[in-house]
Symmetry: C2
Subunit: 698 residues, 2 copies
Amino acid sequence: MGRLRDLFAPESVAVVGATDREGAVGHAILENLVADYVGDIIPVNPNRESVLGLECYPDVASAPPVDLSVIVVPPSIVLEAIRESAKAGVENVVVITAGFSETGSDGAARERELRELADEYDLNLVGPNSLGIMNTRSGMNATFGPENALDGSVSFMSQSGAFITAVLDWANEQGIGFRDVVSLGNKSVLDETDFVEEWGSDPETDVIIGYLEGIDRGDQFVEVAREVSDDTPIVLVKSGRTDAGAQAASSHTGAIAGSEVAYETGLEQAGVLRARSVQELFDWARALSGLPTPDTDGVAVVTNAGGPGVLTTDAVGDANLGMANFTDETIDRLAETMPDEANVYNPIDVIGDADIERFETALDIALEDPNVGSAVVVSAPTAVLEYDRLAEVVIEQRDAHDKPIVTSLMGGSRSRAAEEVLREFGIPNYFDPARAVSGLDALARYRDIKTAQRDEPERFDVDRERAREILETARSRTGNRLGVEAMDLLEAYGIPTPRGEIVSDPEAAQDVAADIDGDVVLKIVSPDISHKSDIGGVRVGVSDEDVYDAYEDVVSNARNYQPDASIVGVQVQEMLDLEGSTETIIGVNRDPQFGPLLLFGLGGIFVEILEDTSVRVAPIGEDEAQAMVEDIKAAPLLRGARGREPADIESVVESIQRLSQLVTDFPSILELDVNPLVVGPEGVQAIDLRLTVDTEKL
Amino acid sequence: MGRLRDLFAPESVAVVGATDREGAVGHAILENLVADYVGDIIPVNPNRESVLGLECYPDVASAPPVDLSVIVVPPSIVLEAIRESAKAGVENVVVITAGFSETGSDGAARERELRELADEYDLNLVGPNSLGIMNTRSGMNATFGPENALDGSVSFMSQSGAFITAVLDWANEQGIGFRDVVSLGNKSVLDETDFVEEWGSDPETDVIIGYLEGIDRGDQFVEVAREVSDDTPIVLVKSGRTDAGAQAASSHTGAIAGSEVAYETGLEQAGVLRARSVQELFDWARALSGLPTPDTDGVAVVTNAGGPGVLTTDAVGDANLGMANFTDETIDRLAETMPDEANVYNPIDVIGDADIERFETALDIALEDPNVGSAVVVSAPTAVLEYDRLAEVVIEQRDAHDKPIVTSLMGGSRSRAAEEVLREFGIPNYFDPARAVSGLDALARYRDIKTAQRDEPERFDVDRERAREILETARSRTGNRLGVEAMDLLEAYGIPTPRGEIVSDPEAAQDVAADIDGDVVLKIVSPDISHKSDIGGVRVGVSDEDVYDAYEDVVSNARNYQPDASIVGVQVQEMLDLEGSTETIIGVNRDPQFGPLLLFGLGGIFVEILEDTSVRVAPIGEDEAQAMVEDIKAAPLLRGARGREPADIESVVESIQRLSQLVTDFPSILELDVNPLVVGPEGVQAIDLRLTVDTEKL
């Protein structure tokens, strides 16, 4: 059991700021508690003797033992109220009061104090600016908003209190129940990561859902959620997906939104099912809380109506599922038992005159097929079909075969009773078959999350100390933006680079070139010049006798282009034979919430114009690195499409992992681009490098 | 008024095969008619005196005048019954009876006879294998399925009768009304194109919706729908979108499904809004039938709840809409009237304590802004907000500003009453704000369809006669697969090709080469050899003195590769300087339903690996041809990205149009690929050509 269980299951709740005044928050909360809460309710208010007929205490210290304090006093005395509770030994606090960081600099200062106070007493503190929390088992509704939720196994957190109010009113009508509900408020102390951790260890939470506008500790969230999602599905709406939405979210919460690509990637790697809408959030939560996960992706569709059967098949095609290929035995058995006009191939059309028995037989035969992981029952109302009995058959079949079944018993008034029956047994019914299939899809995706092998990052044997020295030396020479002068960084982490050195006079250039077989490349090295080729700062195919002149040439071109440019020197590099090789790019960009994002793509137009890239949050293991390479559309080019010799993809995969290790080892690296990383049949070579470091962190 | 109005508004309906027998179709239809139909109901059955208390006639001839015959007799006597009706002067027939093309070859033969009969008497015939038809104004329910529909302005066709049964039961509960409903059955005579045409001229139909599994006359459908959609929105679910779905549809209807890309493209060009699910179909239909179209894409969001406001903003970002940029005046007015804590930028957050008046003020100010084309009102339930009064405000504001407003008054029981009020005034309310926004999106997309200028195909001055000759000559030489020997076809239609000729001896090759400045290219011409380069069938950069040997060379390579290959000759072609130019591909593929599909893309990996192509149904005008070029992701390369000289895009656009004209003029061209069409800064050159012709059609 997690350390937050006492927050949701206290034996006594104090309402600090309780009042009889209608319309006051301190009144609404007390009323909501009085309604159903099985524990002790302790109003605290120095100005009252009793509230709502309950004995009122002047402070928490003089009250009976309190497990949870709900604070509703004005902002100016919130800190005092918290301290008083804490001193009296209360460990769990919900701060309803608003007027903190969401209101400007005074509020932000107050919130900092609040956080310090919580640290000092090691409080489990929700809020401030929270609607409150709920626990259905104990009937505790410590919110000032909605009526009590129905009992269920879904635990629900929301960064918007209003969203909770809206959802609960709707969910009560829809028969959707909850376990714990928390309005996160400003997340000053406890945040989404804490609640995911708590619910992950709570045996009574079957599904975790949430509405979030931001995730504060993205890297830790990924770590915790990855662990939790092995046993408990997590479905989140993270709003601010679009540019407009991100702007709105940032103005709503006052928080800096991380980049959408970081959220998308991070949530995916964390094993979170990310819903794009409120409807998806609850369609998926329903399926996940009521149904087993399917063993295979094959879906059987059983219907009495051809058209809706086709619609359902389309929905299966849209999802990460497939129509099951029935075994010969299944087809024979169906052919024996169904009328001649029926379609015994998938989707099974039991045709319009089908009664309950025919549906039952078809469903039973289909679910026995080992290629069938789940089923969709789709029907149009007919004179001979009793929907409520059909609902019972669906439930019996689910139990008999332990495979998930979803339904679209289409209709209005004619499907109501059946819908109630199905709901009671955890099967959601939808008018639109596509929504039923969407629930199955969530189940299958969650099965993949559960069964995925943990892809632990490999620790390569690298020269970390040398890398540290290079970063420090390079920085001392050129500031926070580094280029090829830091190429040894890649060497230190085992990523091959061409032979060569940076020199600062033409004679040294000649010496270096003499040590290299064949022609060389000369490049100006300057943090102030980014497009070196464009200004004549690069000379390729230089023979030994031309090195001196070429040196003078690139330096004078750079001087002409930008007289005040800081010039580190000239790089003299082995000239590689690039025939038959492909340019790729590995980039890193550090996200404030999730940490380093790795990007992979092919060079030139592929990244710049076609935006054909794949992204992951570092650190990653071999499987993810491999997936990054496979995920880009142009991947066939590396595999040897159109008569090319296949590239050494393994070396690319390894380079990505080594770079992942490098940026994980050095938080000071903010941005890094290996562009190009040239890959041929025999391996990779990093040709050019740019990076930005955080000089504070070195 | 279209010629099918009498089908839906007859003054008398005969039920041929009427019976008192419970459970019989001829009984169900009569019962459904008796329920509400305002016209005369005439049972026809030689074995009865009366049915359901109505006088029964032995045949249509002896009955009072009949406007519509509904045929429910057994399949073996259907043709006789139709002929009898037709002879008695009945022009409108609905054939309910099944057992035609959907049941095998006997049925298919019977259906051919039925079609001939309908032709002979020029009948408006629905079916066979139809559930029937409905018209709500006259209370005519001539179906054996569902109860009567509610009165409304949506006309609805469906290729699945069961889908109609399911939808009507649901729609009655949802308060969605209809004008005409038709179950298309086997579409032996009347099909989707006929009904779109009819409803397009029906002033009482505001929206046309349909469920289709196939479109029989795609090219005519596009023409008719394009016309109709100028005034009446058309929303269709065309199922069989996915491979699995297409297979299911084909097994359901027995029809050959056209290609999905043809449907997608054809429906788009026809001005049809294609829904992907039943939910979208009705969400869009509701918005289109109840609300005006917005003048601009700017959306104002007004909410009392930050979180739901952000969710709505995301949905706007997902749609083809944008959050409106308020004018300074709007922001000033909002700032004056809203409390300090409110957000007066879009989304407007009137905050949790907002009452009706504050919502009204905010909405009124926002809708007055010229940058606002539509609004979404999103709310969470609060103690101070009366949802039903908010609904009234929304309706008043919509009427005052004549701008569309959609709502997501979130909640369950607390939003019911408001939902009823809104629905009555044509405003759908959804719990999920994304669904409300989806309706707005449909309105904006329909506005674009309505206001789009007709892009009439230009008729270029071409040498059609010469093209015909080339096709015939080439075919007589090489059969139905043609290559470069037909290059003159492109010349005849004004698409530039390099200078050159096909010759059949080395001396002739020398003569042709002598007439061309500079080096030449030699290519083997054979319908049996497709990868000419791979087998040594191409020589580039051949100087005049090497032409003789090069000729012998390519011919002997071809002979070695395939001794029995039919060799047309050798093409001697001007060698173009391709430096700075880009290879593109224009392809044509004739779809059985929609006719010629044009495809455009860049050559090589862009089409083959990245699948970066754009497709249209020919014929197209300049705007569409331009859009084809702009639609591909790699378009920036043509415009001159990465330091390249911009290509002559106008020439590409013109070539696409000329090719569109060619394949429209010659239905015998089944497939055609100009690959590559090389484009440089100075224009285009078609380098190679392959086509397949239908020899029957020449």
